[in-house]
């Protein structure tokens, strides 16, 4: 019987174990990278019906986020501005630009501008904008430097781990309320941030939920 299996077959069990470890490791790493929001969502930059540039409006012109997203401090849903909000300025500025045709049409007929939804939390996640921005969580924490984007792109993963990082250590992410919409703002040093953040956590009674039902309600 000994001539059926060559001598090298003696090493097979070990080879199989090593092989499984390598393949398993690659598979785990691949799933971890390619199947999480870090890969699937970050970088999503759909073409919008209107070539609106946040870099121009919020960056160069310095319009506050809340001029357009006017109810973000009151409502769980941060509103997309109505065409009327655009027309506040654009009835005077670049009033005849063909790039604004869609907005003008919407203003005149009431038909909505079909903006493509980028930062889309799943239906099983509850997220409230107002409670975050009123407690010193800046827009930039989740949306990135929108004031530098010509076309808005999905900058942060917004995965469950991403949320929990902040919910576990809120002091590293809180800033004075006056600086929430100032996306360029940074604390002078990491120590200063932690010290100030801890003060806010105490003063504002910040207790971010870490239980399942905090968000999956």
């Amino acid at each position: 019987m000994s001539n059926i299996f060559p001598k090298s077959a003696n090493r097979l069990p070990l080879q199989i174990v090593i092989y499984l470890f390598v393949v398993g490791g690659i598979a785990t790493a691949a799933v971890d990278y390619y199947m999480t929001p870090k890969y699937t969502r970050v970088g999503y930059t759909p073409v919008q019906p209107v070539p609106f540039s946040h870099a121009l409006h919020a960056g160069q012109l310095g319009i506050d986020c809340r001029y357009c997203h006017s109810n973000v401090e009151r409502s769980g849903h941060s509103n997309i501005p109505t065409a009327q909000t655009c027309m506040n300025c654009h009835s005077q500025v670049k009033a005849t630009s063909p790039l604004l045709a869609v907005v003008k049409h919407s203003y005149e007929t009431g038909e909505p501008v079909p903006w493509v939804w980028i930062h889309q939390t799943p239906d099983y996640v509850y997220f409230n904008h107002a409670i975050h921005v009123n407690r010193g969580v800046s827009c930039v924490e989740c949306h990135g430097r929108v004031d530098q984007m010509d076309v808005v792109t999905h900058a942060k993963p917004l995965s469950m781990g991403f949320c929990l990082d902040c919910h576990r250590d809120p002091q590293d992410h809180l800033r004075p309320n006056s600086q929430v919409t100032n996306l360029a703002w940074q604390a002078p040093s990491a120590e200063a941030q932690t010290k100030m953040g801890a003060q806010f956590v105490h003063d504002w009674n910040v207790r971010p939920p870490q239980s399942c039902s905090g968000c999956h309600r």
Binding site: N79, T82, A83, Q84, S106
Partner: protein
Amino acid sequence: MKRKIDHPAPSARELSGPKYWRGLEELTDSPGFKARLEREFPDGASTLDGVDRRQFMKIMAAGFALGGAGLAGCRRPEANILPFGKSVEGAIPGLPLYYATAMPLRRMALPLLAETHQGRPTKLEGNPGYAPLGGVCSLAAQASLLELYDPDRATAHTAAGARLDDAALKDRLGAIGRAHAAGAGLAFLAETSSSPTRARLVAGLRAKFPKAIWAEYEPVTDEPPVAVAQAVLGGALRPLYRFAKAKRILSLDCDFLSAEAGSLTYARDYAAGRRVTSRDDAMNRLYAVESNLTLTGSMADHRLRLASSHLLAFAGALAAQVTGDKSFAALAQGLDVKPEWIAECANDLAANKGESLVIAGAHLPAAVHAVAYAINAALGNLGRTVEFVDAAPSGAASLTDLAAAIRAGSVQTLVILGGNPAYNAPADLDWPALQKSVGEVVRLGYYVDETSALAQVHVTAAHYLESWGDGRTLDGTVVPIQPMILPLFGGLTEIEVLARIAGEAETDPYKLVYETIAGPAGANGAAVFRRFLHDGWLADSASPTLPANFDSAALARLLGSAMAVPAFSKANLEVRFVADHKVDDGRFANNGWLQECPDPMTKLAWDNAILVSPRLAKELGIDPQASMLQVARKDEQDFIKGQEQAHMAELMIGGRKILAPLHIQVGLSNYTVIVPLGYGRAMNGRICQGIGFNGYALRTAGAPNIAAGGTLALTGERRAMADTQWHWSMEGREIVREANYSEYQENPAFVKELGM
């Protein structure tokens, strides 16, 4: 299997005190009860009937194959955010808006606060700003929201089956008014209403069409008759009962906690008089005499079963003791009630003069109401616990008058505003045939129901959440009905239809209501109207209370000669027609939320049944050898897979008969059978179709509420009914912890010491 929790053994006090049970099975500790106790839900509740495992796997496999082949899940779905073109005032995406409105029902409107999301009403609660109700809301009002979105509601105006567009319909309505000079040959049939705007329009209509007939019909009575007050109190008065001030209350077959108009106010006031929070608080006492087992009866300290037809005799016997006037005793000849019960009750009432209250059920004959007023007058309650407001008689003709006019051929055009006479009119009028004999019938209806099926023109009605209107609460306060959304299917409101037929210059319902409210305020009108809409009621619009003087000579005339107390038996049953707890008189029959709510007493859902007493059931031949307790309890053979196996029976009165299931209910008067109305609809609705039986088929115009001479016969068949009586039953823990008032005063903390 439920989680079991061990409780400490009951104390001696609990073992010796009164024992509470959810049903006779529990009382007798029957084997069926023991088995059910082990389960959270009845046998079979969690299995899927009609689908086997193999078929399930097949469908699932096919689903995976279809889904996987296209890899539909691998592409990112592109979603859009659609903002408004122009900003909407006050609307913040993601936050609800609240508006004050009201739900009209018969002669009463219930003030509500409606929650809307992006222009869609989603939730109704009572208006918390309206102090007399403090934000309470009725079952029907909560569920009425679903009817707005009911896919079965009428979606188009039609004439002879063909769709009628908006302009054509409005022309047609205007033409009705122009075609009948002075209203000759024109008749209206409407529901009762508390709307001041409708009253104003009807007054204008009658002035313009003096020969037209204006009739009103409600199948269910929930208010005491004004005619009695007119006869014995000398004015068109409506009583307002002040339960909060009453220390002793006697209910004469009156379910004032749930069925009577104003029951929300009454329940709140009654609870206020009942609640004790400290040793010194007084507590009211409730006596209930009733034929049905009602919510009021279940709250009573002393309850007496008595046929509704015997209540005049009971009231007479009580009046004889309270007033000392022996002429009342003649009414009580042949009454079979323990004299001590009446004597004790009379003494208790008399010991609390001015702080007691006697209330008679709206369905009872005029004489009982008159005697109840006499007792209240003798006790000095008039003006104290029983106050009166102006009832403003509508002057409307009755359905019987209208039927006579149709039979005489003097009606060419009939306009039916709401209601549903083809379903709920008294059987002896034979309304469907009458309606067909009229040349032109125009029906304003929310559903294409039994009545609209027989009408030439169907006008789609707007839901009250789509309408401008107004109404009055129990105390007469005017409340607004505001639309939360534009009519989904272009429905019209009753006041718009009336204004168009009358050829009014103004037909817009908003402006009609504005005129009613702001008109009297003159220059200040716009501000008054804004405030009215904002608050949800009109300040200082409650009806002023009026003095009432009891006239005993008029009472004697009204009572006439004493009638003999009828004797009931198996061969001569008393039949009572009552509104169903879920679907009222049938108007809410297509509401799945209401159907799903079990009746509070019988625990039946999605169905109605004739209620009979255990004694009658035994005499009918249901288990004739067994004891009364055994007849009444529903054992294994009567309860299969959580469904009550009800005996089918034929109920016959005066040659009319219906086939219906029987539900044996303890606490009924021995020979009274209860027929809940509102089911057995012939309308094409996916909820209401094919469930229950139609009790209206037995009702006559002469005896709409209480009829005598009924007979029941079992057919031997059984029918399964959904009965939730034993859901979530538990053992080893008292349902109710109880002590007497005197014991409470000795030890206010008794509750904490019981059963824990």
